[in-house]
């Protein structure tokens, strides 16, 4: 699965989690929680759970704590994909 495909899927998930229109908000690898009003510590938990479910992966707290931008999340998902 390419980074673009993963990013596209994560964008869809974010639209669900943050209850926003996909076309309204531009999500790039550089997007951070500061860019999206609805993205707080609580919705972050829901985001991670939704991403784990979609890609059938499981993150550790240490991995989650290291995330800064959407691109980090994409890279993490990519790293956990079966070879």
């Amino acid at each position: 699965m390419s980074r673009e495909v993963i990013l596209g899927d994560i964008r869809e998930i974010m639209a669900d989690v943050f209850d926003m229109d996909v076309d309204d908000v531009v999500v790039t690898p550089d997007t951070t929680a500061d860019d999206i009003e609805e993205w707080d510590s609580l919705s972050h938990i829901r985001l991670i759970v939704a991403v784990e479910r979609r890609f059938k992966v499981k993150f550790t707290n240490a991995e989650i704590e290291r995330l800064r931008r959407v691109g980090d999340l994409v890279a993490l998902v990519e790293a956990k994909q079966p070879a």
Binding site: D19, I45, V49
Partner: protein, 641 residues
């Protein structure tokens, strides 16, 4: 099955668009069918994010505390340690499925008791109807081993005391019920199998704590949400997510929020009397394998000796168990009636017999029409029905025609039918009385009465033929629980919808300034049990009727006239000259809008739909009724027990 909410249809692919469309319509003024569309959307297996969207929609749909049909509004306080802000919206989104529009207030565990005692505090002024106390073994200190039996007892007592103090502190702020949870057992063993023996192990201490909570709930002090059992059903390994606990103090895996919220919401719905009452069974390939019309009596698969036959037998066994606890059974099948009835009469392996079925609808009319007929015969709403049907097309037809009927999805394998029905939790109860257990019999007698009415020419003759005996008397210790249940469940024939907890009721019974009466009715078809409750404030000049409610089972039987004659007699004997009645409209009690007018009261006052009525006792003459009336207040030694 349970954790994926498999009894519900999968979430629609365009959920986000549907939610968005509803929201923009809501902004542009409420459409009439908005409530029903919201309800339809809620009746899917939604994930925790979709539930949050729905919770927002629900908040937008409520106008100044009033919820659109088919919802009733509940203000719920959620108290506990940890991440309640994830739990609260999941409950609000889920509760729509159970016809509750929930507005949540999130409090803090240890502060809750303190805040609640403060008359000007936020909890007191929040106007809460219900409260949920979210507990966790780790918060309560039950996860750390105790060194001795005495230390274990003390730990359990301390944990229980912590929950109870919070509940007692909250009680003055809560209008209706307080829900408390059992806690899931810690997963990691201390010794291994020996944990079950060792009183100081976390496993033994959580079990002891859960027992204490259950005993408390059995006394009626609180409503129980059995999280421990839920956790076991979904599997403790799936339930417990230590990472989430460390990071967010969420007591269980976030992906299980939907099923947790459903279990909480069904208890809340049960408190509001919204649980289902009747299980309607399809026949072919549901109660037995095969099609009786095609395969014949000998060709259907039922009973021992075949895995399929035993699976269908298990469905019947479950139906019988539900019937024994008060759920009414009915049949709805596309069949020739004679062919459909034959297995019930003649097949030796059938567990279900015609006697168990209150209404039997076997014909070629569509199922929605038959379900309507069943509800009408039993004198209950279609919203009290659950249809168990293996045929997806029939399920779809019923859902689209009668969206308020509970229609679980069923897997292909009949061996899983009972589990699916149980997982859906349609028949949740918060208490069980003797009357509950006899209810199936009573509804069945009702169905026979309805048949008698259609066979009898005029109503007076019909009523006389019922040979009714009405007993009006004080509420006793033995009947207090049933009376409280009736007071808190009756919505339609209820003049003020004033709720009384069992404790308040006990106080009212002792209060010499109050008159509290229960009414029982027996007829030739059976004992209807306690079917009406009257509570009046005894003023020196006039008695004000605070609470007057009646079970809809006995509508049209002139029981209300017997009640009035009793009240008039008692008030007159106490020296009062008038009765004052009040009607307070609710979404469900329009049926009694003209109750007092019909009984000869004069309108005194009207404001905002609520009306006040007066009856001068010197002008009142008790009518002749088609029943015998025994008044236990006149002869206390004959008080109705």
């Amino acid at each position: 099955m349970l954790k994926s909410l498999s009894w519900l249809r999968p979430a629609p692919g365009d959920f986000r668009d549907q939610a968005r469309a509803l929201r923009s319509e809501m902004r542009g003024g409420r459409g009439d069918d908005l409530g029903m569309r919201l309800y339809a959307l809620a009746n899917h297996a939604l994930d925790e994010n979709q539930l949050v969207s729905l919770a927002r929609l629900a908040a937008g749909a409520c106008d100044a505390g009033a919820a659109p049909a088919p919802f009733s509004a509940v203000k719920l306080g959620v108290f506990g340690d940890g991440t309640l802000s994830l739990i609260a919206p999941a409950i609000a989104g889920t509760a729509l499925r159970h016809r509750l529009a929930v507005d949540t207030f999130v409090g803090e565990f240890n502060r809750a008791a303190l805040d609640a005692l403060d008359p000007s505090g936020p909890v007191r002024s929040a106007g809460l109807d219900m409260a949920l106390i979210v507990s966790d073994a780790r918060v309560l200190g039950l996860d750390r081993p105790a060194a001795s039996r005495a230390a274990a007892d003390e730990t359990v007592e301390r944990a229980f005391g912590q929950v109870r103090r919070t509940v007692e502190g909250l009680r003055p702020s809560i209008g209706s019920a307080i829900l408390v949870q059992t806690v899931a057992a810690p997963l990691e063993p201390l010794f291994g199998s020996y944990d079950r023996i060792e009183p100081g192990s976390p496993l033994s201490m959580t079990a002891a704590f859960n027992r204490r909570v259950a005993d408390w709930a059995a006394d009626g002090g609180v409503v129980l949400v059995d999280v421990a059992h839920l956790a076991e059903c979904v599997g403790l390994e799936a339930w417990d997510d230590p990472g989430q606990w460390h990071a967010a103090k969420l007591g269980f895996a976030p992906s299980l929020l939907p099923v947790y919220a459903d279990v909480v919401a069904r208890a809340m719905a049960a408190v509001r009397g919204l649980s289902r009452k009747c299980l309607v069974l399809d026949l072919d390939n549901t109660l037995w394998g095969g099609v009786v019309g095609d395969d014949g009596l000998g060709g259907i698969v039922i009973g021992q000796g075949s895995a399929t036959g035993e699976a269908h037998l298990a469905v019947q066994r479950m139906a019988l168990a539900l019937r024994a606890r008060g759920v009414v059974l009915a049949v709805c099948s596309k069949n020739e009636e004679a062919a459909a009835r034959a297995p019930f009469r003649e097949h030796p392996d059938m567990l279900l017999r015609e006697d168990h079925i209150a209404v039997f609808q076997a014909n070629w009319t569509d199922k929605a029409a038959n379900l309507r007929a069943i509800a009408e015969t039993l004198n209950i709403g279609v919203d009290a029905l659950v249809l168990l049907d293996d045929n997806p097309a029939e399920r779809m037809q019923v859902r689209s025609e009668l969206p308020l009927v509970g229609v679980p999805e069923l897997p292909d394998d009949p061996a899983l039918f009972p589990r699916m029905l149980a997982a859906a939790g349609y028949f949740e109860a918060v208490s069980v009385s003797k009357e509950d257990r006899a209810r199936a019999e009573m509804y069945q007698a009702n169905a026979r009465r309805a048949a008698a009415l259609s066979a009898s020419a005029d109503v007076g003759a019909y009523l006389a033929s019922l040979e009714m005996a009405c007993a009006i008397g004080p509420v006793s210790e033995m009947t207090r629980a049933r009376v409280a249940q009736l007071v808190n469940k009756s919505n339609q024939f209820n003049l003020t919808t004033r709720r009384w907890s069992e404790g308040e009721l006990a106080a009212a019974i002792r209060d010499p300034a109050r008159h509290v009466a229960q009414v029982r009715l027996v007829d030739r078809f059976g004992d209807n049990g306690v079917i009406a409750v009257l509570i009046a404030d005894k003023g020196p000049d006039a008695w004000a009727i605070d609470t007057w409610l009646m079970s809809c089972r006995v509508l049209g039987r002139r029981v209300e006239e017997a009640c009035l004659a009793h009240l008039a007699g008692a008030a007159r004997a106490a020296g009062a000259r008038a009765l004052i009645g009040r009607y307070i409209p609710s979404p469900r009690n329009a049926i009694v809008k003209d109750h007092y007018r019909n009984l000869g009261f004069a309108l005194e006052d009207e404001s905002g739909g609520a009306t006040t009525w007066r009856l001068d006792l010197d002008r009142f003459v008790a009518p002749a009724l088609e029943m015998t009336v025994a008044d236990g207040f006149l002869a206390p030694e004959n008080a109705a027990a």
